[in-house]
């Protein structure tokens, strides 16, 4: 049985890979993907703001401060989702070798987004628990009224 050396096979596959996917093409493809995902994140955040404003206008005639918590919850969920998309685009940006300058900016933005996403998720959870508690207590409160 005649075999080929593993090093030779690896060199051949690298040559094919280089020919099939040059760095410029990879860079351009990743850049397009980054822009698309970043735009999706921004669109979700903007959509969340629009939905929250519409919801605010709908609950405004009731003049109930508790309803504003629901509006904030809706907005918070959109913001968290948008931040996830933007973090995904940050991770994609590291796929092609960036410069130290780009890497520094990327790290700063990613750190801000990660921290915000963490606090936002925690706040959403707390607000949801508060809303659930209010809903559970509301029937008993109305039942105690004279």
């Amino acid at each position: 049985m005649i075999g080929t050396a593993p090093g030779y096979e690896m060199a051949m596959s690298n040559d094919v890979a280089v020919e099939l996917l040059p760095e410029e093409t990879l860079r351009a493809a990743v850049d397009t993907l980054v822009r698309l995902v970043e735009a999706a994140g921004a669109a979700i955040i903007f959509l969340g703001a629009v939905v929250a404003i519409v919801q605010f206008l709908r609950v405004l005639p009731r003049r109930d401060a508790h309803e504003f918590v629901r509006v904030r919850l809706t907005l918070g969920r959109f913001l968290a989702l948008g931040l996830e998309f933007q973090l995904a685009s940050d991770i994609l940006s590291t796929a092609v070798a960036p410069t130290w300058e780009e890497l520094g900016k990327l790290a700063a933005v990613a750190a801000i987004r990660t921290a915000l996403n963490y606090f936002l998720s925690r706040e959403i959870k707390e607000q949801e628990q508060a809303v659930d508690k209010d809903q559970r207590e509301e029937p008993s409160k109305t039942g105690n009224r004279p």
Binding site: R35, E38, A39, G41, A42, I45, F46, G48, A49, A52, I53, F56, L60, R63, D64, A65, F68, V69, V71, R72, L75, G76, F78, L79, G82, L83, Q86, K105, A108, V109, I112, R113, L116, F119, E123
Partner: protein, 88 residues
């Protein structure tokens, strides 16, 4: 794309101020109105952060976003303390 994001950020920021003012006028409750306005301003800040590419812009947007989060968090944590405009 950054011009579009900057414009959207500006629009959301302006809407946040209007929503905050209307909410305050409707409920006379600063604890209800201010977090709503700050959350919308946070959305504007995130759009601005997506548009920014220089260090100055990143630091400015990040500072604004963090200040807004801290203020919202402080208002919600100090829920027991009555604020001047709270109707009682």
């Amino acid at each position: 794309m950054s011009h579009l994001l900057s414009d959207l950020s500006l629009a959301v920021g302006a809407a946040a101020v209007v929503v905050g003012a209307v909410a305050l006028a409707a409920t006379r409750d600063l604890r209800a109105a201010l977090p709503l306005m700050l959350d919308l301003l946070l959305a504007a800040g995130l759009l601005r952060l997506a548009a920014s590419s220089t260090w100055t812009a990143i630091v400015t947007a990040a500072g604004l976003v963090l200040i807004r989060k801290v203020v919202t968090w402080t208002i919600l944590r100090n829920g027991a303390a009555p604020l001047p405009l709270h109707s009682r």
